[in-house]
């Protein structure tokens, strides 16, 4: 399992820097939105929590479609499925590697982008915390979606379509937590709910994803 984790992380770094790129996308989005929306700092401050969370979500999404697809194409997935590691473990490890190369760096970089978007000072801590609590759920849900679409050519957009509605609760609680913090309110409730979603996803979705993978390998 650890070997798989190391391999996936290594692939992410080696192949043009999976992690630098997730960050890059997030950064560019934070730049594009003010360009599209206009420079008014008050508006930006209001929408900042939402945009940052939507950006994190899209940055996750963009790298999802290759989570299993590459292994499927080159035949590794067949070999992993017949290896001593249970497929549930493979899914969990791959989701973890995905989180380590996108969710985690995103969470760490988010405060910098908060500045670009004029996020009110009180919200920075909550922003990071909410991303750290919430992005594992994004990776896990995404892994499930990727498992569903792995056999399909051009599964990328179908994957987005399947995954985005499932991202909705995470997004709402995450953005709400940051918004509340920005308004000086208590963000505990949404943070707890966020943690709940993450815990639930991690507990249940590996099984659903492994089931889907087995079907797709058939």
């Amino acid at each position: 399992m650890i070997a798989l984790l190391i391999r996936d992380l290594r692939l992410a770094f080696r192949a043009g820097g999976g992690f630098g790129l997730g960050l890059g996308f997030f950064l560019i989005l934070a730049v594009l939105v003010p360009l599209g929306v206009g420079p008014d700092p008050v508006t930006l401050g209001i929408i900042a929590p939402g945009i940052l969370w939507v950006g994190a979500l899209l940055a996750c999404l963009l790298s999802l479609d290759r989570l299993f697809a590459l292994d499927h194409e080159d035949g590794s997935l067949d070999l992993l499925a017949t290896s001593p590691i249970p497929l549930e473990g493979v899914v969990a490890v791959k989701a973890l590697a995905h989180w380590g190369t996108t969710g985690l760096p995103l969470a760490l970089a988010a405060p910098v982008l908060g500045i670009l978007l004029n996020l009110p000072g009180a919200a920075y801590g909550t922003l990071m915390l909410s991303l750290i609590l919430g992005t594992p759920a994004l990776s896990m849900i995404g892994a499930f979606g990727a498992a569903l679409t792995v056999g399909l050519k051009r599964g990328g957009l179908l994957l987005s379509l399947l995954v985005l509605p499932m991202y909705m609760p995470t997004l709402v609680f995450g953005a709400q937590a940051v918004t509340r913090a920005a308004q000086g309110l208590d963000p505990t409730t949404p943070l707890v709910l966020l943690a709940g979603i993450t815990a639930g996803s991690i507990a249940l979705l590996p099984f659903a994803a492994a089931f889907a993978l087995r079907i797709n390998l058939r």
């Binding site: 070997a3 798989l4 391999r7 292994d71 194409e73 035949g75 992993l80 017949t82 001593p84 058939r218």
Partner: protein, 205 residues
């Protein structure tokens, strides 16, 4: 150690391809599977490896005791030869990859990224993986594709070594493997007859 297949039937794309197939592979034995293109060799091997369900029949040996070598080699282009091999070794709880590298004449290429290998070199790396799985039954789909004569001989030697240690190999191929001692199993006699149409029933077919 023995795999006993009894009255196996398998299907691909909803269509039965093979039926009534029974054979045994014991430790120390190599079995070569022959059949024309599209006769269901790949389907049979995938079924044995547990990747797809059999229509009916028994396979005495669980997939955990076999390793499957497919048409594709499962190599990561950006990892080096040694890294690719170490990964599969680690997955199967093994450590030492040097013997496998040496056996498939890859030692000199060990630090090369897999994407810079030629077709035959890639294949050799794919075959080296077998040696680090530690499983006794090799289930191989056209293992010698793209290999030159010297590499085929190398592969034959590796298989012989595996057999000598009590292992077994089941290989589908169209070309001569240079393994004179291998039994040949023709797929043709087991070609599935078209099932009688049961009409509009639960099976739809």
């Amino acid at each position: 150690m023995e795999m006993r297949v009894t009255d196996l039937a398998c299907a691909r794309g909803g269509l039965p391809l093979i039926e009534g197939m029974s054979f045994t592979v014991a430790g120390g034995e190599a079995l070569v599977l022959r059949g024309p293109n599209g006769s269901g060799k790949t389907t049979l091997l995938r079924t044995l490896a547990g990747l797809q369900p059999a229509l009916s029949g028994e396979i005495s040996c669980p997939p955990e005791q076999m390793t499957y070598g497919a048409h594709a080699d499962g190599l990561k282009a950006v990892l080096s030869v040694a890294e690719n091999l170490s990964f599969w070794a680690a997955i199967h709880g093994q450590r030492d990859i040097a013997p496998a590298l040496a056996a498939m004449n890859l030692t000199e290429l060990a630090e090369r990224p897999a994407q810079t290998l030629s077709a035959g070199q890639k294949r050799r790396l794919g075959l080296a993986r077998l040696l680090v799985t530690g499983r006794w039954l090799w289930v191989l789909d056209e293992p010698t594709v793209s290999l030159d004569a010297a590499s085929v001989a190398l592969f034959a030697a590796v298989v012989r070594g595996h057999l000598a240690q009590g292992g077994a190999a089941l290989m589908a191929t169209h070309i001569d493997l240079g393994l004179a001692e291998a039994r040949v199993l023709e797929l043709a006699p087991y070609k599935a007859a078209l099932p009688v149409d049961p009409g509009f029933d639960e099976a739809f077919l």
